[in-house]
């Protein structure tokens, strides 16, 4: 038996120790993360949040995302019946025009909610026939609504002194002293193409096509197609024209901001690059300027600028330009420090001056890196421009925050969200395409 070399036990020990340390770390990191998340959950008051959350709001929101409701309201004092989409003045049916599921004959209004649900308003009060349950019969007595319905009253009917309301799968019905109201829910975004006062409302695709191509002019002054485009563009409910402008403004902000930032940062980044600026103090100043601009942050710049320039896309574009010139200055100078010096020396050997060396020796080398950075930021700034628009008051961000703050036009919120996502995806693929074309094609 020959003895093994001496280091073996020590080596084994070291390896075991390292393994143990590794194992401890492998358990310690997830534990630390978990402890931190628990602390965060406590500090964010998650339990209180669950109590405060209003999940019925989520239901309203989801419902509005894909459907709309039509209000059929009778004023109990005057007996006047109005039919309005989403209860808005812009969506009120004009006198003499009713949807096919409403019948008005004298003082009797019949509303067919579908599936056998029928609501009738007449001189005695109102009745709601619910299949499988019976009839809710409401008559005003001494000004207060009195309900007669099969007992026991189920929990989808709520009865109080001054108001009776019922919510079923087909719609909602409520009777109060002043008015009786029925909501009918239908899928889709109503009036998306044409509003009720437009001559093109309610026409099928075939009819519209015929109108656009062969039929006589509705308005002799212009073609039907032009009229149609005008009616769509100025749709009062959805304001397509304004929305298109807002999207354009947002993209404009991103484009102007990114490109201007790049133009400002490019010359300055030479000052901050070690191989182009031998003066240490100047380099230090340039770098601290970039750090300062980045540190002040888009939010603060945006607030200061909107005080000076007022709300609008120019303010947003300048805010993006300032914030990003700091970022570009840093990344561009890093790219400049990483170039290959041989090409610059080659240019120098032909007797080129500093500017010519930069133009022919440096720029061609860094162009791909810079372009790819700029295009990446162009895409990312489309998103930032949405947020900045909400602060400075311009573009689609403003429309979105307004629509959310009114807390009722959720179908518009859904519309803007879809448009924003499409816009960002479009800019994403555009910048990707440009990157491939310009960098690989070069």
């Amino acid at each position: 038996m020959t003895a093994l070399p001496a280091p073996a036990p020590a080596l084994a020990e070291t390896v075991t120790r390292r393994f143990a340390a590794g194992r401890r770390i492998a358990f310690a990191i997830p534990t630390v993360i978990l402890v931190y998340l628990v602390y965060a959950a406590v500090s964010f008051d998650i339990t209180g949040l669950v109590q405060r959350a209003r999940f019925e709001n989520a239901a309203i929101l989801l419902g509005d995302f894909w459907s709309h409701k039509t209000h059929v309201t009778r004023d109990n004092r005057t007996g006047r019946v109005t039919i309005a989409i989403e209860g808005e003045a812009k969506g009120t049916y004009p006198e003499g025009m009713v949807p096919e599921w409403v019948g008005i004959a004298g003082n009797v209004t019949t509303i067919d909610l579908g599936g056998g649900h029928v609501v009738t308003y007449d001189d005695r009060g109102a009745r709601y026939v619910v299949p499988g349950y019976g009839t809710l019969d409401i008559r005003p007595e001494g000004g207060k609504p009195v309900l007669t319905a099969p007992r026991p009253i189920p929990d989808w009917i709520s009865v109080s002194e001054n108001k009776v309301s019922a919510t079923t799968a087909a719609g909602r019905f409520s009777y109060s002293r002043s008015k009786v109201e029925t909501f009918r829910y239908e899928p889709g975004w109503e009036l998306w193409f044409f509003t009720l006062d437009s001559p093109f409302y309610g026409k099928s695709w075939g009819e519209l096509l015929a109108l656009a191509t062969t039929a006589d002019r509705i308005d002799p002054a212009r073609t039907n197609l032009g009229y149609m485009a005008r009616e769509f563009w100025t749709n009062k409910m959805w304001r397509h024209g304004d929305v298109a402008w807002a999207i354009f403004e947002t993209i404009l902000m991103a484009f102007l901001g990114t490109m201007s930032a790049a133009l400002v940062a490019l010359p300055l980044s030479f000052l901050a690059a070690r191989n182009f600026n031998p003066l240490g103090p100047l380099r230090f100043v340039a770098r601290r300027v970039f750090d300062f601009i980045r540190g002040v942050d888009g939010l603060i710049w945006t607030i200061i600028l909107s005080r000076a320039f007022g709300p609008g896309p120019m303010t947003g574009a300048i805010a993006i330009a300032i914030t990003d010139s700091g970022t570009f200055g840093k990344t561009f100078s890093e790219a400049l420090e990483n170039i290959d010096d041989k090409q610059v020396e080659g240019i120098r050997s032909t007797g080129a001056n500093g500017l010519q060396r930069a133009r022919f020796g440096v720029i061609p080398q860094v162009t791909p890196v810079l372009l790819s950075q700029i295009l990446y930021y162009l895409e990312s700034n489309t998103r930032s421009a949405t947020v900045i628009g909400a602060i400075v008051g311009g573009g689609i961000g403003l429309l979105l925050t307004q629509a959310i703050n009114t807390q009722k036009d959720w179908e518009e919120v859904a519309y803007y969200m879809v448009l924003i996502v499409l816009m960002v995806m479009l800019m994403d693929s555009l910048s990707g395409w440009l990157r491939r074309r310009l960098i690989k094609g070069a």
């Binding site: 964010f44 209003r54 929101l61 120019m314 949405t386």
Partner: protein
Amino acid sequence: MVDVAFGPEPGRRPNLVDPQAAYLDLVRRKRMYGGILLVVFVALMASGWRLAEDRNAGGFLGGLGQLFDFPAEVLAEAWEKRALLPAIFRDHIPALIETLNIAAVATLTGAMAAMALSLLATRGLARWPRLIPLFRRAMDALRAIPEIVVALVLIYILGGGPVPAVIAIALHTGGALGKLFSEVAENADLKPVEGLASVGASWGQRMWLGVIPQVAPNWLSYALLRFEINVRASAILGFVGEGGIGHDLKIAMQWGQGRYDEVVAIFALLFLTIVLIDQVSDRCRHKLVRGN
């Protein structure tokens, strides 16, 4: 042979009999394209700025004079009340911590989701190769939705507080980091994975022991960069929505004159925090990537 040298594209071929003329022709054409691009770009920029100015409430030159009015006013007032500043700093520290917590929790949860998503969406590593396009599109969608949209909708449902901002930022982080993580994982060496597969390791074990150790430094570096971005996003979301130091800033701004000392204090806190985080994370990232 000519095809190999000059590519298959149709169109005018260079005249090889006279290479100098051909070269000059090529240069001229390139310069012309460059010139046209430059003209188009300048025209776009000029008309764009003019249009933006038209649609702005205030003009550029008029605003330029007032640019320093607001900072000057704010700073003057803060200077008068400079004795109060330390107390104001102390008052806003909890809000600052909340902002940082929002960013940190969102980065952590987003990064964890991104780890799973990126591995599922990487060719050669995916658990279900057929579902790669699905996971990629999911990440694209997560990236495309701006944080503010999710945050504002969630504030309506969940009420105020920091949680809507956390969820909004985490969703976006998941998509953004997922893409970057997946690009890193694509370049990972597959030999350890094959070795683990040969001893019967499950997919989770292969990823955890074979891939993660390889990509961890780069992933961490990206996650740190994202944390920097998320701190800013969290401050902005606070300003537009609710929660954290952004919200304090909005209230102080709405109050206007008389509370400008608070505005200055919050600006300063935000600035110092962002610079500090940028510097620390910059140093860590250099170490992580160089140490590799």
